[in-house]
């Protein structure tokens, strides 16, 4: 059996899964200069809410096309409510302070959200297999692949394109780019930085929740599902470069392909390979492959 197509397809679908969460983290870091440790929890909440909407409103017909917009709706609700809430209440006070404070604040948020999820949704896993089954199997290069992961890939690509378009072809996007390169200067130029902060965080939250919502059909939605995602996302942005969405995309592809190759060739090294790559890139280019953020000069 030719493993190359398996590695390729597997790698790309894994990359797509990671992209949404990583893009969110790197985007938030670029604008707010905070590394959001709670981002995995936002991913998980997106999964829970998406699953909840599907189970509630698609009712009997879980294999219909209405499930997809319901998942999307879950992500949008998270982005519009939780995002601004967190940014206003928690993060706003932290911007001017030491990096430690931001890291610890989001770590505290992570602890809080993990339990909030348990309180709201309990500890039993939620299953929304409908959309997964709906897409059956796809045949490529003589191998049968599950169809649903391709949906995830399409969502990731669409999100990426949308993000790219917004950043480069709208006035909001230009303002965001300005804030990313120099917060103080942006303020001096008359840009409403607090408003940009709010929207950016909401957008990042939406992306994570989107990743979670569309992952729900792939796996069981249960407590702790966000805890491992976050470190994988850190690995991706470490490789791709903090603050760069294109970097996140490239980082995801590298991580996805490397992991897929490891799974086929050296299964024990599946996860090791990801973090080893992160270390290697950080040692070689500390700011990541496409990092735009200047290192503190020593």
């Amino acid at each position: 059996m030719n493993i190359l197509p398996i590695i390729l397809i597997d790698g790309i679908t894994y990359a797509s899964w990671l992209f949404l969460v990583s893009a969110g983290i790197t985007f938030i870091f670029g604008v707010l200069r905070i590394l959001n440790v709670a981002h995995g929890s936002l991913y998980a909440i997106g999964a829970y809410l998406g699953a909840t909407f599907v189970l509630r409103f698609a009712g009997q017909n879980q294999q219909s096309w209405t499930t997809l917009p319901l998942l999307l709706l879950g992500a949008i609700v998270v982005g519009l409510t939780l995002g601004p809430l967190i940014e206003r209440l928690l993060l706003r006070r932290v911007y001017e302070q030491d990096e430690v404070v931001g890291l610890l604040t989001t770590f505290a948020l992570f602890l809080i959200l993990e339990d909030v999820m348990r309180l709201i949704w309990g500890i039993e896993p939620y299953m929304v297999e409908g959309p997964y089954r709906m897409f059956g199997r796809v045949h490529m290069a003589g191998i049968a692949f599950a169809g649903y992961p391709f949906v995830l890939t399409i969502v990731a690509i669409l999100a990426g394109l949308l993000l790219w378009f917004v950043l480069h072809h709208t006035s909001f996007g230009r303002q965001v780019t300005c804030v990313i390169s120099d917060r103080e200067m942006a303020g001096a130029l008359g840009i409403n930085v607090p408003r940009i902060d709010l929207i950016a965080f909401a957008l990042g939250t939406f992306l994570a929740a989107l990743g979670g919502a569309f992952t729900a059909p792939l796996t069981s939605v249960e407590p702790g599902m966000g805890v491992s995602v976050i470190v994988l996302a850190f690995a991706v942005v470490g490789i791709g470069g903090l603050g760069s969405i294109g970097g996140a995309a490239v980082g995801c592809l590298i991580v996805g392909l490397a992991r897929a190759a490891a799974v086929q060739l050296f299964p024990e090294l599946e996860l090791v390979v990801i973090y080893a790559l992160m270390v290697a890139v950080l040692l070689w280019r500390p700011q990541g492959l496409f990092g735009a953020i200047e290192l503190r000069k020593i």
């Binding site: 604040t105 809080i112 500390p286 020593i298």
Partner: protein, 316 residues
């Protein structure tokens, strides 16, 4: 405050605390004694984190050394039949220290968020290795620590003996920590946070100071891990997980960075709060801790130590 009075008050404070802790088992249940021992052992790792925090460096990967120390004890007991703490704990310290020296050479080039991310990555490599290489590490099941002896004696009431072992080791680590914090190297580490250029222009090396601190930090974290391995009797890959590292940083901030005693105060408070939070409401203990951390960050950033010493501060 001149050096002599702080030295004296440290000794007095330390001896009082030591005496109190030595007497506590007479009044408290076995479970609380165990919790205290656990808190004290973990306190060594927290001190390790504090040493770096004082220089402005956040290590989000200290669980690595904690795990290395713990697994050293497990391997010695299970594979080599050596359950002797007087051999295992120093060995754990040496192995962690050597690892810290090797990794420190890589890490000391970084500051800020990059230092945090790289330290995180290194600890996650350890975690994933421990999970995947079952024959080596017992995989996700971990290993149970088969055997404990102190000076050749296998005690009947091992819980109590372990408590006193931890207490004595803690006293030792506190002493070393105190001397370090008061030394030129300890102050240079603080200076790193404020002005690295000035350090270079005094003819000293910021990277050397950071590396030395990192090695000591790794070594004492290994001691902490070794002690916990004996206390709990079980080691698992979770010891190296990123959340464990996050908890150590949490406790470091909770206790404060202002004194060598702060990490242990923070650690004891943390274990006690966690214990009662879990008992009281199993599905909200993390939430409680999270809110607690936020309160500390917003209202008392110097941590509990800052709270304790606030009234004694002289006006400037």
């Amino acid at each position: 405050m001149n050096g002599a009075t702080t030295h004296r008050s440290f000794l007095v404070g330390g001896m009082v605390a030591f005496a109190l802790l030595a007497l506590l088992p007479l009044f408290l249940s076995d479970w609380i004694v165990f919790l205290l021992a656990l808190a004290l052992a973990k306190g060594a790792v927290v001190l390790g984190v504090v040493l770096l925090l004082r220089g402005g460096l956040i290590s989000f990967g200290h669980a690595l050394y904690f795990a290395v120390g713990a697994y050293t004890v497990a391997f010695l007991a299970n594979r080599f039949g050596v359950g002797e703490a007087l051999v295992a704990v120093p060995l754990a310290m040496v192995i962690s220290g050597l690892l810290a020296a090797a990794l420190g050479l890589l890490l000391t080039r970084f500051r800020g968020i990059y230092f945090a991310m790289l330290s995180l990555a290194l600890s996650m490599i350890a975690y994933t290795v421990l999970i995947k290489f079952y024959d080596f590490s017992g995989g996700t099941d971990g290993l149970s620590v088969r055997g404990f002896s102190l000076a050749g004696v296998t005690p009947v009431h091992s819980g109590l003996v372990k408590y006193y072992l931890v207490l004595v080791v803690t006293a030792g680590v506190t002493y070393i920590g105190a001397r370090f914090l008061a030394s030129p190297l300890g102050y240079l580490m603080q200076a790193v946070r404020y002005n690295e250029i000035r350090i270079e222009y005094l003819g000293a090396s910021a990277s050397h100071a950071i590396l030395a601190s990192y090695i000591i930090s790794g070594a004492i974290s290994g001691i902490g891990g070794a002690l916990v391995a004996y206390l709990v009797g079980q080691v698992s890959p979770e010891l190296a997980y990123w959340v464990a590292s996050g908890d150590f940083v949490f406790v470091a901030v909770l206790g404060g960075t202002g004194s060598v005693f702060a990490p242990w105060i923070g650690s004891v408070v943390f274990e006690l709060v966690k214990n009662y939070a879990v008992k009281f409401s199993p599905s909200t203990w993390q939430l409680t801790l999270g809110v607690f951390l936020l309160l500390v960050i917003y209202f008392q950033p110097q941590g509990l130590w800052g709270l304790l010493t606030r009234r004694r501060a002289k006006p400037r």
